[in-house]
C-alpha cells in the first residue's frame, strides 16, 4: 500500500473533516471561512476524481485504520460504486457552496449571521463520504449518526420556530431509524461474529434461511427509514421544506441516497450470497415497498402547492424507482439503481436550486402566490424544463435512460405490476411538473407590481445551468455512465 493511496482512500472523510474544523476556527471571519470551505470542497472533488479513475483502472483500494485488521479494525475500501458516490457528493457540495454565495438566508456575513452553516455542511459531508467508503457495518452506523448531527445542526441554525419544530421531528424519527440500525448491527454481530463486509459476505452463505431473513429484514427496515421509503418516510415531508435553499438542495440531493446506497450495498453485495429463499423473499417485499413508495410519494406531491414540498415528495417517489432496481436482484437491476441514483442526485438538487431562484425572484415558494417567470426570465424556464422533463423521463434526457434500464429489467423478469405502477407514476410526475410550470412560469404574477428580479443571482445561474448541462450530457451520451454503472454492479455481484 503506497502512502498516497492510503491518503486518497481516507480523503472522503479526512478532507471534509479538516475543512469543517478549520471553517469552525475561522467562524468570526466570513471571507476566510468561505475561502477555506471552497479549498476543501475542491480538494475533495480532486480526490474523488482520482478515486473514480483508480476504480476504473481496477486498482484494489482498501485500508485498515491504525493498522488494526478485521475483526477489530475498521476497513475502508473503495470500488466503482463507492467512488462514483463520493464524486457525486463532492460535485453537489461544490454546487451548493457556489449557490450559497449569493443566498440571503445562509450568508455568514448576512443579518442575522449564520457562522456555522458552512462548518455544518462540511460536517455533514464527512458522514456522507464516510458512509460511501466504509467497509464495516458498525462504522456505517457511525457515519449515519454524523450525518444526522450535521443535518440537525443545519435545521437548528435557522432558529425559526418551524425549523426548530422540523429539527425535533427529524430528530425523533431518524433516531428511531438509527436505533433500529444498531439493533440490526448487534444481531448481525451476534449471529456471524463479523462486521467487516468481506467477512460478512463469506459468512452469509452459511446462514440458515430463517436467520438470514431476520438479518436482512432488520437491516432493510433500518435503511428504509434512512432512504425515506413507504411507510417510513414521515420525517422527510415534515422537515425538509424548512431548510434554506442551497442547504435544502444538498440535503435533498444526497441524504436519502445514502440510505439507498446502504441498501444496495447490503442486499446486492454483502448479503448477496445469503440463502436464495431468504434473499428472494426480502427482495420481493422490497419490490412491493418500492411500488408503494413511488405511488405515495407522487400522490403527496400532487396534493401540495409549495414548490419545496412538491419536490420533497418527489424525492420519495423517485426513491421508489431506485429501490425497484435493487429489488430485482440482478446485475442489470443494481446497475440501473446506480444510474438512477446518479441521475436523480443531479436533477433533484437542480430542481431545488431552481425553486430557490424562483423564490428569490417572486418572493414565495407557494405556487398560489407567484407566477410570471416565463415572461420575465425565459432562460429560467428552459433551465427548469430540462431537469423537470428529465425527472419525468422524457427522451433524450438522463431520466429516460435511467427509467429505461430499470423498467426493461423489471419487464424482463416478468414483474408486470411493478412496471405498470412505475409508468403510472411517471404520468403523475408529469402532472406535478406541469403544475409548477403553469403556476410559477406561465400564469402572470398575482401581484402585478412585483419586480420579478433579484440581485446577486450570478452564482446561482452558474450552478443551475451547469447541472442542467450535465443532465443533457448524460442524456446524449448515456453509454459512458451506463457502462460504468453496469461495471460497478458486476463488481459487487448481483444476487442471481
Amino acid at each position: 500500500m503506497t502512502v498516497p493511496m492510503s491518503m486518497l482512500i481516507t480523503s472522503p472523510i479526512f478532507v471534509p473533516l479538516l475543512t469543517a474544523v478549520l471553517a469552525t476556527l475561522a467562524y468570526r471571519r466570513p471571507a476566510l471561512q468561505r475561502a477555506i470551505s471552497f479549498t476543501g470542497i475542491l480538494a475533495l472533488l480532486a480526490c474523488a476524481v482520482a478515486l473514480v479513475q483508480f476504480a476504473i483502472e481496477g486498482r484494489p483500494m482498501a485500508v485498515s485504520f491504525g493498522g488494526w485488521e478485521a475483526p477489530f479494525g475498521i476497513e475502508f475500501s473503495v470500488d466503482r460504486l463507492g467512488a462514483i458516490m463520493v464524486l457525486l457528493t463532492a460535485l453537489m457540495g461544490l454546487a451548493a457552496l457556489v449557490f450559497q454565495i449569493g443566498d440571503p438566508e445562509t450568508s455568514p456575513a448576512g443579518e442575522p449571521s449564520k457562522p456555522f452553516v458552512l462548518p455544518l455542511l462540511h460536517g455533514m459531508l464527512v458522514g456522507v463520504g464516510g458512509a460511501f467508503v466504509t467497509a464495516d457495518l458498525f462504522n456505517m452506523y457511525v457515519w449515519f449518526e454524523v450525518m444526522l448531527i450535521g443535518v440537525l445542526g443545519l435545521f437548528a441554525a435557522g432558529s425559526r420556530l418551524d425549523q426548530l419544530e422540523a429539527a425535533f421531528k427529524y430528530f425523533v424519527l431518524n433516531v428511531a431509524g438509527t436505533l433500529l440500525l444498531v439493533v440490526a448491527v448487534g444481531a448481525v454481530y451476534a449471529v456471524t461474529g463479523q462486521l467487516n463486509f468481506t467477512a460478512l459476505s463469506e459468512a452469509a452463505a452459511f446462514l440458515s434461511p430463517g436467520m438470514a431473513l431476520l438479518l436482512l429484514a432488520s437491516l432493510g427496515v433500518a435503511f428504509l427509514v434512512k432512504a425515506g421509503a413507504f411507510p417510513l418516510f414521515a420525517w422527510l415531508p415534515a422537515a425538509y421544506h424548512t431548510l434554506p435553499g442551497p442547504v435544502l438542495a444538498l440535503v435533498a440531493g444526497l441524504l436519502t441516497k445514502v440510505g439507498v446506497y446502504a441498501l444496495l450495498r447490503v442486499f446486492g453485495d454483502v448479503f448477496a450470497p445469503a440463502p436464495e429463499a431468504a434473499l428472494g423473499l426480502a427482495l420481493e417485499a422490497l419490490g412491493w415497498i418500492a411500488a408503494a413508495t413511488m405511488l405515495t410519494g407522487v400522490l403527496g406531491a400532487a396534493y401540495h402547492w409549495d414548490m419545496r414540498r412538491i419536490l420533497g415528495f418527489h424525492i420519495i417517489s423517485q426513491i421508489g424507482y431506485m429501490l425497484l432496481g435493487i429489488a430485482l436482484g440482478t446485475e442489470a437491476g443494481n446497475g440501473g439503481t446506480l444510474f438512477y441514483t446518479a441521475h436523480h442526485i443531479i436533477v433533484k438538487a437542480n430542481l431545488f436550486f431552481i425553486a430557490a431562484i424562483a423564490w428569490r425572484m417572486t418572493g414565495s415558494y407557494d405556487l398560489r402566490k407567484i407566477g410570471g417567470l416565463a415572461n420575465a426570465r425565459p432562460l429560467l424556464a428552459i433551465v427548469f424544463a430540462i431537469p423537470a422533463l428529465s425527472l419525468v423521463g422524457i427522451p433524450p434526457l438522463s431520466g429516460f435512460w435511467a427509467k429505461l434500464i430499470v423498467l426493461r429489467e423489471t419487464l424482463a423478469l416478468g414483474h408486470v405490476a411493478w412496471t405498470v405502477v412505475a409508468l403510472v407514476v411517471s404520468f403523475l410526475t408529469l402532472y406535478s411538473m406541469m403544475k409548477i410550470w403553469m403556476e410559477a412560469f406561465w400564469k402572470p404574477h398575482p401581484d402585478p407590481s412585483h419586480p420579478l428580479e433579484a440581485r446577486g443571482l450570478a452564482p446561482a445561474w452558474c450552478v443551475t445551468i451547469g447541472l442542467a448541462l450535465i443532465t443533457v450530457l448524460i442524456g446524449l451520451f448515456p453509454d459512458t455512465l451506463a457502462g460504468y454503472c453496469l461495471a460497478a454492479a458486476a463488481e459487487i455481484g448481483g444476487a442471481r
Binding site: F138, R160, L164, A166, V172, V182, H304, G363
Partner: protein, 145 residues
C-alpha cells in the same frame, strides 16, 4: 445471566417506548434515551456474556489473555453511548428552545412546519413567520401600509 440481560433490555425498551409515544416533548427525548440504553445493552450482549475479566492487557504482556471478555462489543457500546450522549444533549437544548418559542410542550400543538389542513383539497399555506424572509419583503410592506 443472558436471561437477566434480556429481561433488562425488554424492560428498558418497553418503558422507553411508552415514554417516546407520549405527546410531551421532554418525555419523548427521555424515552428515546431509555430506548437507546436498552439497545446498547443488547449490543453489549451480542458478543456473548462470557467473562467478567476486563479486556485489559496486563503490564509487561503483549497479548490479551484468552479468558478476558470480548473487547469488540465493548468498543461498539462505548461508541454508541458517546454518539447517543451527544444526540440527547442536542435534543434537550432543542426541546428547551422549542418549548420556549412555541410556548407549549405538546407535540400535537406543533403545527408550524406542517400546518393543519383547513380544506378538503387545498393544502394550507405556511403560518405567519414560518417562511424564509424574502429580501424584498420588508421595504415593500413598509412602503405600502
Amino acid at each position: 445471566m443472558i436471561w437477566v440481560i434480556a429481561l433488562a433490555v425488554w424492560t428498558t425498551l418497553l418503558v422507553g417506548a411508552r415514554l417516546a409515544m407520549s405527546r410531551d416533548l421532554f418525555r419523548v427525548v427521555v424515552g428515546l434515551a431509555l430506548i437507546s440504553s436498552g439497545i446498547v445493552l443488547m449490543l453489549f450482549s451480542s458478543g456473548r456474556v462470557s467473562s467478567a475479566e476486563p479486556a485489559v492487557i496486563a503490564a509487561g504482556e503483549k497479548v490479551l489473555p484468552a479468558t478476558a471478555a470480548n473487547p469488540l462489543p465493548q468498543a461498539l457500546v462505548l461508541t454508541a453511548i458517546v454518539i447517543g450522549f451527544a444526540l440527547i444533549c442536542f435534543a434537550f437544548i432543542l426541546v428547551v428552545r422549542v418549548v420556549r418559542d412555541a410556548e407549549t410542550d405538546d407535540a400535537e400543538d406543533l403545527r408550524y412546519a406542517e400546518p393543519a389542513p383547513t380544506h378538503a383539497v387545498e393544502p394550507p399555506a405556511s403560518p405567519e413567520g414560518c417562511d424564509p424572509r424574502h429580501p424584498l419583503d420588508e421595504p415593500r410592506t413598509g412602503g405600502h401600509p
